[in-house]
């Protein structure tokens, strides 16, 4: 049987608004499979996003869904999780949303190690507003606000997340479709802040401007640049030039925030 995505999607919400070939649809499918794998209960799960094309994802999902303001997903989600630690909280959104305007909430959620799973759909561009560069747009590339090539260096989102204290950090691409659900599922099961970066493609606002003939070309590039961590371990720096590591990049067990707070309450109320 074909995979039953529909049972996780709100009736009547498809087709979604994303452009032909937009990678966000592929990530959404991976997320659905991951949530399925984890057996999440609809009523007991919240999906929270910011603003952007990627952030439109929750609207399609038949869960408690919250489409917040640009960049604020992690902070809204923190409020939900504090009040209802028993709920599974998933954040999702774009690279711009999560690392530009939302950078501060993102790093602080990592620091607290609050139990949520943050899926960043990194298409290295502000898709929704028509293709301005994001903190993840590779240096030198074209965007509507870098007509002469992007002068900015990029964030390595995973490095940033690890530096900020996230306890589960993984990366894959929209080409590696089956890895998406595996990593997200692992992130959901991990107790603490999990960050899963999925490199995907925005043919409309990035591809055209950067001379990709089609989204398939863009996906093939993702295939080429991805190197699984295990394989990378055996490669030279030269071989790794221009490559992106995929798989679980970091994992650590550390006290989770709402757990700690529950203990604090117990202590105060016990006293």
């Amino acid at each position: 049987m074909a995979y039953d995505y529909e049972k996780s999607i709100r009736p009547g919400k498809l087709p979604h608004i994303w452009c032909p070939g937009c990678g966000h649809g592929i990530v959404m499918k991976g997320l659905i499979r991951a949530m399925d794998t984890c057996g999440l209960e609809k009523n007991n799960t919240a999906i929270v996003s910011g603003i952007g094309c990627a952030s439109r994802l929750p609207g399609y999902m038949d869960f408690n869904t919250l489409h917040t303001a640009h960049g604020r997903a992690a902070a809204f989600a923190t409020g939900i999780k504090m009040v209802k630690p028993e709920m599974t909280v998933i954040c999702c959104g774009g690279d711009g949303d999560g690392t530009a305007i939302g950078g501060n909430h993102f790093i602080h959620a990592c620091r607290r190690n609050i139990d949520m799973t943050y899926v960043i759909m990194n298409n290295y561009i502000y898709g929704m507003t028509g293709g301005q560069f994001s903190p993840c747009t590779p240096t030198g590339m074209k965007a509507s606000t870098t007509p002469y090539g992007n002068p900015d260096p990029i964030f390595d989102i995973s490095k940033l997340a690890i530096g900020a204290g996230a306890t589960f950090v993984a990366r894959t691409t929209s080409f590696h479709a089956t890895q998406i659900d595996k990593l997200i599922a692992e992130g959901i099961k991990h107790k603490g802040m999990s960050v899963i970066e999925v490199l995907d493609d925005c043919p409309t606002s990035y591809g055209r401007r950067n001379k990709f003939r089609s989204v398939v070309d863009m996906m093939k590039r993702l295939k080429e640049v991805a190197v699984p961590v295990a394989a990378a371990a055996k490669m030279t720096d030269e071989q790794l030039e221009g490559k992106v590591l995929t798989g679980v990049l970091f994992k650590e067990e550390r006290a989770e925030y709402t757990d700690q707070y529950a203990k604090l309450i117990a202590r105060v109320q016990g006293a």
Binding site: M1, P15, W18, G21, K29, T178, P203
Partner: protein, 64 residues
């Protein structure tokens, strides 16, 4: 050669990105103007690549 799966295409969802066409290992699919169509049903090996990769929930692989 006989089809290993029946391919269902939900035309209202398909946006014609041609990802499924490109990643189908046996060239079962083809673009028809803006929408994909099954051009070579018998060649399907039920590998599920098309369903897995379609960003638009527009294709379903029903194994036979």
């Amino acid at each position: 050669m006989s089809a290993k799966a029946e391919i269902e295409i939900i035309e209202e969802y398909c946006k014609g990105c041609s990802i499924c066409v490109e990643f189908c290992p046996t060239k079962v699919l083809e673009m028809d103007a803006f929408v994909v169509k099954v051009a070579n049903a018998d060649a399907c090996i039920a590998c599920n690549q098309c369903e897995l990769r379609c960003p638009d929930f527009a294709i379903k692989v029903h194994k036979l």
